[in-house]
């Protein structure tokens, strides 16, 4: 149990250490780390509006983070959450313009379903290629990201372009398909609620369903899974499609609640940031929500920080990157011992089978 608590505390420790290192850099540059931190906090959680906006910014990260977690749990390296989110947004955005007379709840459900289906097709395609043609999903999903971006660009310049042809964007979706803000002027909307719902669904699915167990087994030992008759191909396609569906849902929520129409760029790279979120959360769905909120807060606070301290918002990306690097280092230290991890001594410090055997017999 202590080991589990330590493992859970490591992401927090990584964040603190990253902040400490950045502080040193800021001092060297002549800026005050305290002021920067205060402004970052102010921008992210300073008032009701800032706090809710952090949640709004975290919402697509929760969806894409869940998408990554589901795939990675099965050792399916889905780098394509960005493309899946874009295709989901496109499917939802295209459908949304045609939902004029529909009752609001039905229109919303139709939007989300279209988004999930779009993302599922994009992720499922990579899964199918992996299962049937042994195409490495890392490569196919990265490539499909570019294809998705180009397809969206073509769509908003072509078939989905607004009639005036003034800008490369689609017409606004029907009012019935738009998610309302709970408390104007805050942009807080149903999106985060749906994200939380799917977080619970993913948790139950991964850790309490037989299919989730099979997926985790596949992710940890492919050969044993094959021996015990786990349907590897079916599971690969299914997990990749579900992963894509979650990312696509994120895209649909974004169109329905925030943008209300399609632009050339629908994602600032959420699908990639989600990999960081999922890794920090240890691929654990319940931990993805706080991780996404931290990353969303950093994104959100960076603008206030830039205004107040004349510090580039890129600093925030540096912090995010450092958290990941430090976390990896911490994990290495925990498994191989501090000295080995730092100085790289002793070829293989992992206990040999004999030593582990001794532990079992003791």
């Amino acid at each position: 149990m202590n080991a589990r608590i330590a493992a859970a505390a490591r992401p927090l420790a990584a964040l603190v250490l990253a902040a400490a290192i950045i502080s040193l850099v800021l001092i060297a540059l002549g800026a005050s780390p305290v002021a920067v931190a205060a402004d970052l906090w102010q921008g992210a959680f300073g008032n009701w509006l800032a706090t809710t906006d952090t949640l709004v910014k975290a919402t697509p990260l929760v969806f894409t983070g869940l998408a990554i977690a589901i795939a990675f749990q099965g050792s399916l390296w889905n780098i394509g959450a960005d493309g899946q989110l874009i295709i989901g947004a496109m499917a939802a955005g295209a459908l949304g313009t045609a939902l004029g007379g529909w009752p609001h709840p039905l229109a919303i459900i139709a939007m989300l379903t279209a988004g999930a289906a779009g993302g599922a097709s994009w992720g499922g395609l990579a899964g199918w290629l992996r299962a049937r043609r042994e195409v490495n999903e890392v490569i196919s999903t990265i490539m499909l990201n570019f294809v998705a971006a180009q397809v969206l660009s073509w769509a908003v310049h072509g078939p989905l372009m607004e009639p005036s042809h003034a800008l490369p964007q689609s017409v606004v979706i029907a009012p019935s398909a738009q998610l309302a803000f709970y408390f104007e002027p805050s942009r807080l909307n149903l999106g985060m609620t749906v994200a939380l719902l799917f977080t619970v669904v993913c948790h139950l699915g991964l850790f309490h369903s037989a299919a989730g167990f099979e997926l985790r087994a596949l992710g940890r030992n492919r050969r044993a899974s094959a021996f015990f008759g786990i349907p590897i191909r079916r599971l690969t396609v299914l997990a990749m499609a579900l992963s894509g569906a979650l990312a696509g849902l994120g895209g649909a929520v974004q169109v329905s609640a925030i943008t209300h129409r399609l632009f050339e760029t629908m994602s600032p790279g959420w699908g990639y940031e989600a990999i960081a979120v999922a890794l920090v959360a240890r691929l654990n769905p319940l931990a993805i929500v706080p991780a996404a909120i931290v990353f969303g807060a950093l994104d959100n606070g960076s603008q206030a920080m830039q205004r107040a301290d004349a510090v580039s918002p890129v600093l925030v990306n540096v912090i995010q990157g450092m958290v990941i690097m430090i976390l990896i280092a911490f994990d290495a230290m925990a498994t191989t011992g501090m000295r080995t991890a730092l100085f790289g001594l002793a070829g293989d410090a992992r206990p040999s089978a004999d030593a582990v055997a001794g532990a079992g017999d003791a």
Binding site: H208, F213, N221, R223, F227, D348, A349, A353, A359, G360
Partner: protein, 499 residues
């Protein structure tokens, strides 16, 4: 002279080695014996520089070795062959040899040269090399061990450490191999043989060091001791059950009801004929031993019976439908268990158990955990509970878990592949008892092994597999009480002499 003085090594809270002194002289074959978890692997890993001792010094001819450097150990002439081969899975066997000592003097890209260098050595040892260009991931464990022995010898070692190398060699190969060890000894090299097999240690070693629970229990000249004494030293006060001694082959089976029928099964995979017109039956209540050198189609047969492969022609019939065959794979850590999953989840890998604890797609966690606890108790598996990971179990307990899981699914037919490989006597006796009880209760067991002693001790009937063909022993041999003669006969069949 390879000397270790007061070596201590600790893993977390476990003291793996406690002030171990060890000394092997040039021109000697030194057997290192001990149960699982006694510290043998840790000690040889320290010799080979893969692990660093917490305290103590290893020296070769009076020169202290740089601790924890595999590279420097190799340069000093210490070469180890491990129980789980250390080969590059995705590379061909020639490339693996070229990356090792066979690359010396020739370009590492010149695979033909590496293969050519290996031929005479392989021929001298009587090893069959795989077809050219075969990636190691498609080689059987036996082929891998043979490759690794070749690679180790190509380094021209001063100290050759062999960790359980003989388990997967054929009797014919074994003779040549032991002969080679004697020749290496004659050249003034040091050979350290890590083994469970007391008979083997006695047959070839000059000196024996016994480890027990991280300490040296004794060092003996082979001439001054015997197997009984070594067994006592290894295990301590506990008496060895009789099951490891050779029992006469008895026809206990109820031949009238076949549980498994394999009819003219042929399997082609990876462009070669892996199985060739297999034809045999298994009856309820019998343990049928399938003897053979590893890499003669056993793995493919197991995969076929596990349902991972479909026969190219012929068919497999089981008395009952669906899930009636349960397989215990050869490589328990790679194929049988998921080491970083808890024990109860490892049980759920088995389809019958997973189905039993699944309701409408949801795993019944508490039921499964309770069931796992019962099983751990019933099969006396030492663990920190159902929630601890499989990695925390010792090798023997991992195998007890694998067998317990297979039996808990109440199969009709149990296919056990090298089920006792690397187990100590106590764990082996436990596993044998579990298999006997299963057969006594009406189950049919196909016991696949390259260990003749084990097959003779357990089997009611013996088959031999060689180059994908299964040969039954002539009926009069099965009743033979001249076990020694029989073993010789089987050994000849295994090495293909009779085919």
């Amino acid at each position: 002279m390879l000397e270790a003085a007061a070596i201590t090594r600790r893993f977390a809270r476990t003291l793996a080695l406690d002030r171990v002194d060890f000394c092997a002289r040039p021109g000697e074959i030194h057997a290192l014996i001990g149960e699982n978890g006694a510290g043998k692997s840790t000690l040889i890993n320290i010799f080979a520089g893969r692990l660093k001792a917490d305290a103590g010094v290893v020296s070769l001819d009076g020169e202290p070795l740089a601790a924890g450097s595999a590279h420097l150990a190799l340069k000093a002439g210490i070469v180890a062959v491990y129980q789980s081969p250390m080969l590059f899975e995705r590379l061909s066997w020639e490339e693996n040899l070229a990356l090792g000592g066979f690359g010396a003097g020739v370009s590492r890209n010149d695979l033909a040269a590496a293969a050519q260098c290996a031929q005479p050595l392989a021929a001298r040892l009587g090893f069959d090399l795989p077809p050219p260009g075969t990636p190691v991931e498609r080689c059987s464990i036996g082929e891998r061990v043979r490759l690794e022995i070749l690679r180790a010898l190509s380094f021209d070692p001063r100290v050759l450490i062999l960790d359980e190398p003989t388990g997967v060699l054929a009797p014919a190969e074994l003779g040549a191999f032991l002969e080679l060890l004697r020749r290496l000894r004659g050249e003034g090299r040091i050979v350290i043989l890590v083994t469970h097999k007391l008979a083997e240690a006695m047959a070839v070693a000059d000196r024996v060091t016994v480890l027990r629970r991280g300490r040296v229990a004794a060092e003996r000249l082979a001439a001054n001791t015997d197997e009984a004494e070594l067994a006592r030293l290894m295990i301590g006060e506990i008496t060895v059950p009789a099951s490891t001694s050779a029992a006469p082959l008895a026809a206990l089976g109820d031949r009238a009801t076949p549980a498994l029928t394999v009819e003219q099964v042929t399997l082609d995979c990876d462009g070669r004929r892996a199985l060739d017109r297999l034809d045999f039956t298994l009856s309820m209540g019998e343990i049928v031993g399938l003897a053979g050198v590893d890499g003669n189609g056993q793995r493919e047969l197991v995969e076929l019976l596990a349902g991972r492969r479909a026969p190219t022609s012929g068919r497999v019939r089981v008395r009952a439908h669906g899930g009636a065959i349960t397989v215990i794979p050869q490589d328990r850590d790679l194929d049988g268990l998921i080491l970083d999953m808890p024990l109860w989840e490892n049980l759920m890998l088995a389809r019958p158990l997973r189905d039993r604890f699944t309701r409408r797609g949801w795993l019944q966690r508490s039921g499964a955990v309770a069931f796992c606890g019962e099983l751990l108790e019933r099969f006396r598996i030492r663990s920190a509970g159902a929630a601890s990971t499989a990695a925390s179990l010792s090798g023997g307990n991992r195998q007890r878990l694998a067998v317990a899981r297979a039996l808990a699914g109440a199969p009709q037919v149990l296919v056990a592949h090298d089920v006792c490989r690397g187990l100590d006597l106590r764990a082996m006796a436990d596993v044998h008892r579990m298999l006997r009880e299963f057969a006594a209760a009406g189950g049919a067991v196909l016991l696949i092994s390259s260990d003749l002693d084990e097959l003779l001790a357990l089997s009611t009937r013996l088959l031999v597999i060689c180059r994908g063909r299964v040969l039954a022993l002539p009926a009069d041999d099965c009743g033979s009480e001249r076990i020694g003669l029989l073993a010789e006969r089987i050994g000849l069949l295994m090495s293909g002499a009779a085919s």
